[in-house]
Amino acid sequence: MSRAGQQTFVYDRPPVIAAHASVAGPKEAQGPLAPWFDALLEDDLLGQKSWELAEMEMVRRCVMDALNQARMPAESVQALLGGDLNNQIIASSFAARALGMPFLGQYGACSTFVQALAVASALISGGFLDSAACVASSHFCTAERQFRFPLELGTQRPPQASWTATACGCALLKGEGEGLRITSGTLGRVIDLNITDANHMGAAMAPAVFDTLAAHFSDMGRRAEDYDLIATGDLGWIGRDLLLELCDAAGVSLPPDRLIDCGASLFYREQDAHAGGSGCGCVASVSCGWLMKRLERGELNRLLLVGSGAMLSPTSSQQGQSVPGIACAVSIERGR
C-alpha cells in the first residue's frame, strides 16, 4: 500500500531523517527560537557581494552542516531537492553547483521545503534513491527587492504583511538507519478564494492549508488528535486564526493547543514582523531547528508538518490577479 485516497503517499519504506541543519539571520536570531538554530548569522551579506550570493552561500553552508552531522561526503548524496523564492530558484541551483550533487529543483513558494520532503521520501521509499538532501531558503533582502520595494524606500507595511525570514533548513534523508521517519505525504491542490491583497498571504493560504489538512485526515483516516502537534508553515498570526475558523465552520476538529504556525513562532510580536515570518526558509529552519529536535527529545511523537505557499508573482499581482495558495503536508514520526 503506497497510496491513500486522492492525494496522499504512504511510504512503504519510510525514509529516515539522518541529519538536519538550520541557519537563521540576524533578526531571527533576536527571536524566541534563536537557541534552537544550528547557526546564527551576524551579517545578512555573509561576506558576499550581493544578497543573492549571500542566500546561495547560506544554502551551501546549511547543506554542508547537515552532511557533516551525518558524516557523509557530498558525493555520497544521490540528490539535492531544493528551492527558494528567487526567480528561477537561483539560490538553490547555484548552491547545487557548488555542492556537485544531482539537483532536482522544487518550487512551492513557502511550502517548498515540505514539498521537497514529500517528493524525496517518495523517491527513497520507491527505491530510486538511497539518500537525498532537502533544502529550502529565503532571504529578506532578496525577496523584498524582487516582490516588493527596494530596501531603502521609505514605505509603511500594513499590519497583515508578513516578514520574509532570512533562514535556511536542510534535512538529509536516507533509506536506512535510525532516526525520525517520514511516514506519509499529502500533496495539495491550488486553492483560491479570491484574495487580491498580495500583502495578505496568511489569508490567501489558510484555505489551501485547510484543504490539504482535510484531505490528509480523510485519506489517512486520521484526526487532528492523532498528532501531538500540527505545524503549519507561514500562515502567521492572522492566518492561523483564519485556519481555526475554517476548520470550525467545516466541522473538522482542530484543537488550538495542537496547532502551531512556524511563521508565528519565529518572531516575538514586539519584533515588528507584523503578521509573522514567511518565506521558504521559515518553515524549513523552524522544522529542522526546532520541531525535529523536539521529536528527537521525545517531547513529541507524531508531527504533521504542513507547508503553505502563496503562488503569486510580481507579474500576476501587477496584472490584478488574486493570490492562489497551496499546501503540502508530511507526517514525521519518532522511531519504531
Binding site: 521609505g154 484574495i195 484555505p207 492572522i238
Partner: protein
C-alpha cells in the same frame, strides 16, 4: 470537489474581521508632524535664499535642490526608510520622498550594473511621476493655449 466551508464573499468578510486595522490616529499625527516639519525646513531654505538675493527664479530651485540633496543623502545612509516607516505619507509626499524614490532603487540595483541596474532602475518609481506629471502639464498648456485663442 470543494471542501471549503465559505464562499469567497463570506471568506472575505471573515478575513476583514480578523485583520487588525492600521492605527489611524497615530498614522495621521505622525504623517502630519513629519510632513509639516519638512515643509518648515523648505520654508526656512526659501527665506535663506531670499537673504542670499537668489531671485524669484533661482530661489525655488535652490530650495528644491537642497531638499532633494537631503532626501537622497538620508536614503544613502539608510535613514530615510526608517523615517518612512514611521511617518508614511509624511515623508513620502514631500519632494524629499520623490528624491528617496529615485535614490532607493538606484542604490538597491547597483549590483545589476551601471546601465540596466542603476540607470534604468532610477526611474522605476520616479518614471511614472514624471511621465504623468509632464504629460498632464502639456495638456494643461495646450488647453490654456486653446482657451486663450478663444478669448482673445
Amino acid at each position: 470537489m470543494s471542501r471549503q466551508p465559505f464562499t469567497p464573499d463570506r471568506y472575505r468578510e471573515l478575513v476583514a474581521s480578523h485583520t487588525p486595522p492600521s492605527r489611524q490616529l497615530r498614522g495621521y499625527l505622525r504623517a502630519f508632524w513629519v510632513g509639516g516639519t519638512i515643509c518648515v525646513l523648505g520654508q526656512a531654505l526659501t527665506l535663506w535664499a531670499e537673504k542670499l538675493n537668489l531671485g524669484e527664479i533661482t530661489a525655488p530651485m535652490f530650495t528644491t535642490s537642497a531638499l532633494i540633496f537631503l532626501g537622497t543623502t538620508l536614503t544613502g545612509i539608510g535613514v530615510y526608510d526608517r523615517i518612512g516607516k514611521y511617518a508614511g505619507a509624511g515623508s513620502a509626499i514631500p519632494v524629499t520622498g520623490f528624491a528617496n524614490s529615485v535614490a532607493a532603487p538606484a542604490i538597491e540595483f547597483q549590483r545589476e550594473g551601471a546601465v540596466m541596474g542603476v540607470g534604468a532602475r532610477l526611474f522605476t518609481l520616479a518614471g511614472p511621476v514624471l511621465a504623468y506629471g509632464i504629460a498632464s502639464s502639456v495638456l494643461v498648456g495646450i488647453a490654456y493655449w486653446l482657451a486663450r485663442g478663444w478669448v482673445l
